[in-house]
């Protein structure tokens, strides 16, 4: 029985794939009084559906591991249904319905974790609902303008209308992708969510915000250029959005570096990565959108890989803090490779596809002549090396710091299979950077009436600014590696294996297990001595939201005072209101 149910859920998790393969045509469903849902699959949505199709089964597999949490699985199914509805939406009502189903089902999934705190769940749901309601407000404005809920370019809106729409929709999607300063719900919820579900949150759900942003671009026929004039050498709105994205990326990167917890680090890194995507969307050219989509693809793969590996570590060691882990490379080698490939992709190092994506974005920034943005983006993507290193060093290298880390075994196969698949995908995409462009991204760009980016073959990535060949790069590197290793081993002399992990050059001292050798959570702490970084790390927007909450509670208390249980007051109030209104009428000459 349980096996059949599990198979059923796995089949459900394959539904995005089935949809992607099998969907053709159009479906409508009347809701009420002239409001209908129309479902259709645009190329843009198909791209994001692909991301969902990648994420859903890979996340489902570890979730199905015994003991299965049935409510989680049911909610996961609802979540997938909502997200597919959202992607298939041909009109804003179904878009919103999908959006909301996604919101509440993911919230309820968040509650399945024993670690979720009230503040976390509240901030998650309130921010996401705020996003949803902004979206709904935007939809209403859109409906007021066009008289229809269909998603289609807006013809001839006035500037204030455009601005209102862009603000409402834009804020909604920016909350969802978690840009600064609307991001504070992200780290804590990614951190405290069930470990596997964090992967889905980061890989798939945040992409829906990206989908929304690109969708928003399509609402305005002349994209960002028409909106609010030009500034410097580009569209002002795009410029603003790009800076929002890049500042998000920078701040989130530094926050990520200072984290002491694996999942929280990954959460901040997600914010940063989505910040890049936001920047690319802000640039808005064909190159940049191609880069944004590419980044989204890579980020999905990478974050799935990293969160699943980390979930495996947490499962096997029971530890999630950097200080409590270490030296797992010997005990969990496959997870090590998972995280390794993941951080290479995350850092955007060649030859993995993260580089291809970043290359497109960098080139698009040069193309747009936004060099300061380029520099800012470089700042955050180089600073990202530090947290990437921290992510692999603290759990896998160094010294084991807890009983859990000392005795861990390799993660069970439902965790390893997705990792291996993802590693293979990343590797393949890295060797053939043109594949993703030509097969996945170009249809979207064509549908958005932009110039496609496809090159002569899948091996190359070409732009007007030059490109590179993934196959050559990979073969040169691999050949060099084999050659170097071979030559090295040919040299005379013997390798001597260190007698113990504590056989270290330590100024003649003899470190022991008690010596604090593991440079885990402290890594990057000295960065706060750099004035700019220190300033960033000292400040937080949390105070603002806490203040808002406090004010709200104070207001609630104040107003709640009226509801004291005293009938005399009630009656007095009724009479007073009566008298005052009559009196006012008398004074103003009504009577």
């Amino acid at each position: 029985m349980s096996l059949i149910l599990k198979l059923f859920f796995f089949a459900v998790s394959l539904s995005p794939t089935a949809l992607l393969m099998g969907w053709d045509g159009h479906l409508t469903w009347t809701l009420l009084d002239g409001v209908g849902l129309s479902l259709t699959l645009t190329p843009l949505a198909a791209f994001f559906l692909l991301l969902l199709a990648l994420a859903a089964p890979l996340v489902a597999l570890p979730m199905l591991r015994r003991p299965a949490d049935w409510p989680s699985l049911a909610l996961y199914a609802a979540l997938l249904a909502g997200m597919q509805l959202l992607l298939l939406a041909g009109d804003f009502v179904s878009f919103f319905i999908g959006w909301e189903i996604m919101t509440w089902s993911s919230y309820l999934l968040l509650l399945r974790s024993p670690r979720t705190e009230m503040a976390t769940s509240q901030s998650y749901i309130l921010f996401n609902l705020a996003s949803a309601f902004l979206l709904l407000a935007g939809i209403m404005v859109f409906y007021g303008l066009t008289g229809s809920f269909d998603i289609r370019p807006l013809v001839g809106p006035t500037q204030p209308q455009q601005l209102a729409l862009a603000l409402l929709f834009g804020l909604a999607f920016l909350i969802k992708v978690g840009t600064l300063p609307l991001h504070i719900w992200v780290p804590r919820s990614y951190d405290e969510a069930p470990d596997i579900f964090s992967a889905f949150l980061s890989a798939a759900i945040s992409k829906m915000g990206v989908y929304g942003m690109i969708l928003l671009l399509t609402l305005f026929p002349e994209a960002l250029t028409g909106l609010y004039g030009r500034l410097l050498n580009g569209p002002a709105a795009g410029y603003l959005l790009a800076w929002v994205g890049v500042i998000t990326a920078i701040v989130a990167t530094y926050k990520a570096i200072s984290q002491e917890d694996m999942k929280r680090l990954l959460a901040y890194s997600s914010i940063a990565q989505v910040g890049y995507i936001t920047t690319a969307v802000g640039v808005g050219s064909s190159l940049a959108l191609g880069g944004a989509l590419y980044l989204a693809l890579v980020h999905t793969l990478v974050k799935l890989l990293l969160f699943i590996s980390v979930a495996g570590i947490v499962l096997q060691t029971g530890q999630r803090r950097f200080n409590d882990l270490g030296r797992l490379i010997e005990r969990m080698p496959i997870s090590f490779f998972g995280v390794l490939i993941g951080i290479i992709g995350l850092a955007g190092m060649p030859p993995l596809p993260g580089f291809a994506a970043k290359y497109l974005v960098f080139v698009s920034l040069v193309d747009a002549r936004w060099l300061l943005l380029l520099a800012a983006m470089i700042l955050s993507s180089t600073a990202a090396f530090i947290y990437c290193y921290k992510l692999i060093y603290a759990p896998f290298l160094g010294h084991a710091n807890s009983a859990g880390a000392r005795e861990a075994k390799e993660a069970p196969w439902p965790y390893l299979v997705p990792q291996v698949i993802l590693m293979a995908l990343l590797f393949g995409l890295g060797v053939f950077p043109g594949f993703a462009i030509e097969v996945l991204i170009d249809p979207v760009l064509t549908a958005l009436r932009m110039a496609p980016l496809g090159g002569s073959s899948w091996a190359v990535l070409t732009t007007a600014y030059g490109g590179y060949d993934g196959v050559v790069l990979m073969s040169v590197f691999v050949t060099a590696f084999v050659l170097v290793t071979g030559l090295f081993l040919l040299l005379r002399g013997r390798m001597r294996r260190a007698g113990s992990p504590y056989d270290l050059s330590y100024a003649g001292e003899v470190p022991t297990e008690e010596t604090p050798l593991h440079y885990g959570a402290g890594m990057g702490r000295e960065l706060r001595r750099i004035p700019l970084v220190g300033w960033i790390l000292r400040h937080s927007s949390q105070g603002f939201y806490l203040g808002l909450t406090r004010q709200m509670r104070a207001a609630a208390g104040l107003l709640g005072g009226f509801y004291a249980g005293n009938p005399q007051t009630w009656i007095l109030l009724a009479v007073v209101v009566f008298a005052v209104v009559l009196g006012l009428q008398a004074v103003t000459g009504g009577i």
């Binding site: 060649p350 530090i386 290193y389 790069l473 590696f481 090295f488 002399g493 992990p501 000295e526 700019l532």
Partner: protein
């Protein structure tokens, strides 16, 4: 066949240039300090000595593969930087790459090695790595901004195209885009681990930093890649700003001139702390870069 010979030639040239340049550097340094200094071949001897150490300590497989990765990275980097222009030789695979790729390739190796450092379990090594990454974060911003100015100027990321555009002294990058050259100069020194910015491997403070656990042949590998990588960077900057070179002698000459310029800076300035270095990069070279952006992009005549 040509490709293989060419690759071997590039690796050989960069290695020989590497140890000779560094030998010269040690000589020059000694003379500045009023010493005789070692022979110009000293780096070669040191390197060979390490390669022929009879014992090499390893801390596990990752510790072994780290230097292999960094060496492979150095080879790849060298092979993706065109050494000469208008020539069939010393091109490697540079037509398959571009400037941004090279900049990233420069980092691949060190990051691979950082894994080895981490797996050694020596906190000093990891401290050094963190410092290195911090410095990298500081220097990349102005460095990339300067390169961005170059890419914008030539509207390409292809090093070949940039080289080809610098036809004659008047079109050298250093003449047509002096700000970009000034912007990248100091970060370039830092990327070469040059003196004011060499706190990463501070011998006493962090016990040689990332290299703390490496000895024997592995250290030899690290030395080799360091020399080759330095040459790759020198050649790259030569290509971008000094018009490239049509034959090997010109290449050596130009690279040497650039090398002397950077070493002259290195020799007279004392070491900065990491955060001082980063702060410096974000103030002086970056400020200069922003000025460059204002001049070349923002102002009305430039758009």
């Amino acid at each position: 066949m040509h490709a293989i010979l060419d690759s071997l030639a590039m690796i050989g040239v960069s290695y020989i240039m590497g140890f000779l340049f560094y030998g010269f550097y040690r000589q020059l340094n000694a003379r500045v300090q009023r010493r005789w200094g070692p022979s110009i071949w000293q780096n070669f001897f040191d390197n060979m000595k390490f390669f022929f150490k009879s014992e090499t300590l390893v801390h596990g497989p990752m510790f072994f593969f780290g230097p292999m990765i960094i060496m492979a990275g150095a080879f790849t980097t060298v092979l993706f930087v065109p050494f000469l222009k208008d020539s069939n030789w010393l091109q490697g695979y540079s037509q398959y790459g571009n400037l941004i790729l090279i900049i990233y390739l420069l980092v691949v190796g060190p990051l691979g090695n950082a894994l080895a450092v981490g797996s050694s379990g020596n906190p000093f090594g990891v401290m050094g790595v963190t410092r290195g990454l911090t410095r990298l974060m500081g220097l990349e911003v102005p460095f990339f901004l300067g390169l961005g100015l170059v890419m914008l100027q030539h509207e390409t990321t292809s090093v070949h195209a940039i080289m080809a555009a610098q036809d004659g002294l008047a079109h050298w990058g250093i003449v047509t885009n002096p700000i970009a050259f000034c912007v990248i100069l100091l970060p370039f020194i830092a990327s070469q681990n040059g003196s004011p910015f060499d706190v990463v491997g501070a011998p006493v403070e962090v016990y040689a930093g990332p290299r703390v656990e490496f000895g024997g042949r592995l250290l030899g590998v690290l030395m080799t890649q360091n020399m080759m990588m330095s040459i790759a960077k020198l050649v790259l900057v030569t290509d971008l700003f000094l018009g490239g070179a049509t034959n090997i002698l010109v290449l050596i000459l130009k690279a040497f001139a650039l090398f002397v310029l950077t070493t002259a800076v290195s020799m007279v300035f004392p070491r900065l702390r990491t955060e001082q270095a980063v702060d410096f990069f974000w103030k002086v070279p970056l400020g200069l870069g922003v000025l460059g952006v204002i001049l070349t992009v923002w102002l009305p005549w430039s758009a």
